[in-house]
Amino acid sequence: MISLRGITKTFGPTAVLDGVTLDVTAGECVALLGANGAGKSTLLRIVATALRPTKGTLTLWNEDAVRAPERARGRLGFVAHGAHVWDDLTAIENLRVWRTLANRPSHADALMSALAIVELDGAAHERVRTFSAGMKRRLSLARWVDGGVDLLLLDEPFTGLDQRGKKWLTEFLLAFKARGGTALMATHDFSRSLDLADRLAILADGVIAADQPRAGVDTGELHALYRLHTGGAE
């Protein structure tokens, strides 16, 4: 589903990514680990077609997504740091704008049922400015909870969530996987990575330093692997 070859991204003189090669097959969940500033967000944004790579190829659903990003947009969901929410609108208003722009059902019933799935129906008419980080992230996900996409890109989705929020998100992603969904998730959360991922990839020095199946890796081994490739920073 996703194929990255030699992805390089330079900002001025600095090369944040320097030849990233990664594959994600349909139905897989890949956890992308790495130190702060390693370039995980940049890589995710490139996969989401929100950013153009300086060099390299990105193939989504067997199509060149650098040359023709439009084809992929609308078929994937991107849960980013910023959550893409407008603070002055209510939850349901936010969702209405997003669903309209995504050409998905945006009448009140559809919106309320989507909000119910992410457990925000109670706060549907409150302004997003009052929401916690976790609530904003759930609202961000509400765009795609009732079908619509089978590829999710998540940038540190567990950061800033409380225990209850993390549990909810884990269950949601497991259900998403059960439906055959594909996910690429950048995260710092080792235990969730082990819960959800089929494969673990570590981004360091601008390349994928390690890429292996999750099976058979326990917490201790994961920590060791991480420390090995990122030089100790955690």
Binding site: R45, A48, T49, A50, L51, R52, E70, R73, G74, R75, L76, F78, A80, H81, G82, A83, H84, V85, W86, D87, D88, L89, E93, R96, V97, W98, T100, L101, A102, N103, R127, K136
Partner: protein
């Protein structure tokens, strides 16, 4: 039509936001009143000089208000990475430009009506009898100003020193529009009618067409990260 729905929802979003925040429109209207004072203090000593300069002052006022209003069009999208979210939706992104343009036209229209009314009252200008001509020139000039302003607002939203770069880019390109609007307004206020300045009106219409079409066609290139 999907395109129209996309443009509409952007307009709806901006109206809903402005209604909650109440910052842009109120400040602009207040600014318009202040302009009146500025013009009176700088030029009011000589009544004839002021009257002769009125068409120019009117458009100077519109452009100054426009610089403030239009420059902010995309600021709100910088929060929470909404810009990125807009980019990642399916379909023709220029619908977003059209929605923003519509919103800007509404804001500019509101401000211009107030400025015109204030000019009529405080500078003793017979706005009423010249109204149809003034409205036509106003519409033509505002479309051009807003079309290009929206494009550059998008362009400068992500650039440092945005507040400086926006007027620097916009003003020289607006010269044809400015000249045409002032000349046409002059003719209308002097009772000569638009027939005497038909070539200017045609220039304004041509400029509007170019600015809107180019704005629509180039928006997707600006929206990309």
């Amino acid at each position: 039509m999907t395109y129209a729905r996309h443009a509409w929802i952007i307009l709806w979003k901006d109206i809903a936001t402005e209604r909650r925040r109440k910052e842009t429109l109120n400040a602009l209207l207040f600014f318009s009143v202040l302009l009146l004072f500025v013009f009176e203090f700088t030029l009011g000593g000589d009544r004839d000089r002021l009257t002769a300069a009125l068409p120019g002052l009117l458009w100077l006022g519109f452009i100054l208000a426009g610089l403030l209003a239009l420059g902010r069009s995309f600021l709100i999208e910088r929060e929470n990475d909404c810009w990125e979210g807009l980019l990642l939706g399916p379909g023709d992104k220029s619908a977003i430009y059209v929605g923003k343009l519509a919103g800007n036209l509404l804001v500019m229209a509101a401000v211009e009506v107030v400025v015109l009314a204030l000019f009529g009252v405080f500078f003793n200008v017979d706005v009423w009898s010249a109204l149809p001509g003034l409205v036509l020139v106003g519409v033509l000039g505002t479309i051009g100003l807003a079309a290009m302003g929206t494009t550059f607002a998008a362009m400068t939203a992500q650039v440092r020193a945005r507040e400086l770069l926006f007027p620097v880019l916009l003003l020289p390109l607006q010269v044809p529009l400015l000249l045409g609007c002032v000349k046409a307004t002059e003719a209308v206020l002097n009772g000569e009618g638009l027939g005497s300045v038909l070539h200017w009106v045609q220039l304004l219409a041509a400029a509007d067409l170019i600015y809107v079409v180019v704005g629509v066609l180039t928006f997707e290139f600006i929206l990309e990260a």
